[in-house]
Amino acid sequence: MSLLTVHQLYIYFRNKPIVKNIDFTVRHGEWFSLIGESGSGKSITASAIGGLLPKEMLIAAGHILFDYKDITHLSNKEFQKIRGKEISYVFQDYQSSFTPFIKIGKQLDEMIQAHCSLTKKERREIAFQALEDVQLPAKRVYDSYPFQLSGGQLQRASIAMAIMLKPKLLIADEPTTALDSITAAHVLEVIANIKEKINCAILFITHDLRMARKYSNTIAVMKQGKIVEVGTKESVIYHPSHPYTKRLLSAVPTIKRITSPTKRDLILQ
């Protein structure tokens, strides 16, 4: 069952195509990873799905189907209803996930208010539950300003906000890139737990194959605005067909390669 279908999508930036003829499908409850180097158009694609493209960019052709509805050319008002409730985002820059001078609790509350009509007490309960789901001390974080939290905590808080209203699709745009590897692993684990709990699909965007390897069901590889390879995790990682994927895989440092001497080392000896 497909939740999100991107069909022959073209995105133009000042009359130049930056995303060319993209096709992929994310199924319900699936972890879909979109991998590619910086500038390959993966973040642009992610923005386009929620109608968050910058003004200078536009969808020139193609369709985006979400939950059997065509959302390619919705108005901003219509997108507002979907964003945060059906499709939600986690960004790379956790510092900017929250407005710096407003308490986190207030921002969570504001978001619930934007989408549902609930009493103050009910809203507070939802927010606390979401913060606990990402293993944060709910009350303290609720009453904190963003700058009072560490990077990992802030990223988890932004995940809490993203999953608070139980969206069907969570778009995680390089959520671990700005974090150190231990915190990144923890954040990944949190996302994986949440996915199980609320049974949402995840569109995971990264340039780092290692981040995609553990949890993905499907991997798509993007290069210069095109998807060059798409398939199950096993097929892409163990039997890559496109030369770019092979290069990408060989660029991942493994313990084996670091410890075993290379040909050059042997010659030098």
């Binding site: 900017s96 989408h115 300003y145 700058f147 009072q148």
Partner: protein
Amino acid sequence: MIHIAKRLIEFMLFLLLLSFISFIFIKLAPGDPVKQMLHVDEVSVTKEQIEALRDELKFNEPLYIQYWYWLKRFFEFDLGHSYITKQPVLSELLSRFPATITLTCASLIVMILISVPLGTLSALYKNKWVDHMSRLFALVGSSIPSFWLGLLFIELFAVKLGILPSMGKGTAKHIILPSLTLGIAMSAVYVRLLRSSLLEGLNEDYVKAARARGISEKRIFLFHVFRRSLIPVITIFGMSLGSLISGTVVIEVLFAYPGIGKMVVDAIIRRDYPVIQGYVLFITILIVMINIFVDICYRYLNPEIRLKGVERR
């Protein structure tokens, strides 16, 4: 508390230094009030009479001694008496002050009424006609000297149309032209400042994040952008208080508006030393107080400053 005490001591030292400098400068200016006090133009006075009055006012003593006499009285909260009107300086200042405050507040209201809507519109409609109009307004507003603008207003509203009084105070009508003149002159800068500050705010990544949450554009603008954009505006406002005060002086003289600005200009012309000195101190205290207020605004607008002492949790 320590913070406040420290600032208070700093302030006292600053006041002392400033009073000394202004005292010296006033005395260095040529001329003195003696002839005016004796009405030389109307009655004949002898050289002895002039010298006697100079002695009485201690003008023949060295400057630092004169300053010392002034300072001693200052610590008894006595700013002396005006040479011309013979009234205590403090009560003169206090009786004239409400008029100036009224003028300042009215001008600030005019300024806010112009610069907030115009700045906001020109940020929201960047490079559209509203923006071009506001750019033109800012350019014209900051190039026209306020006294000339005031003269134009007098010509138009008081002379040609005859609907507003051109001088004096008393009714609400009297405040309109002076405050309009000063308010327009001031708002020129703030329109552009608010515009650029808002544009910067709208480009922040956290605005994109708020959009991604489905928050409405109106709410984002009011709660996530506008508040932060006031910080640079308030900074510049705090720094330009001096020009606001000197602005009121020009306007008060132009419209013969009996505030403390008009009073000090008269005092300077007559070399009425105690009044000038009293004015300088009064304005200094006022500016410091407003700066403390600006500081408090800051802490409200940016909690990071307020909680700086708090450790990262």
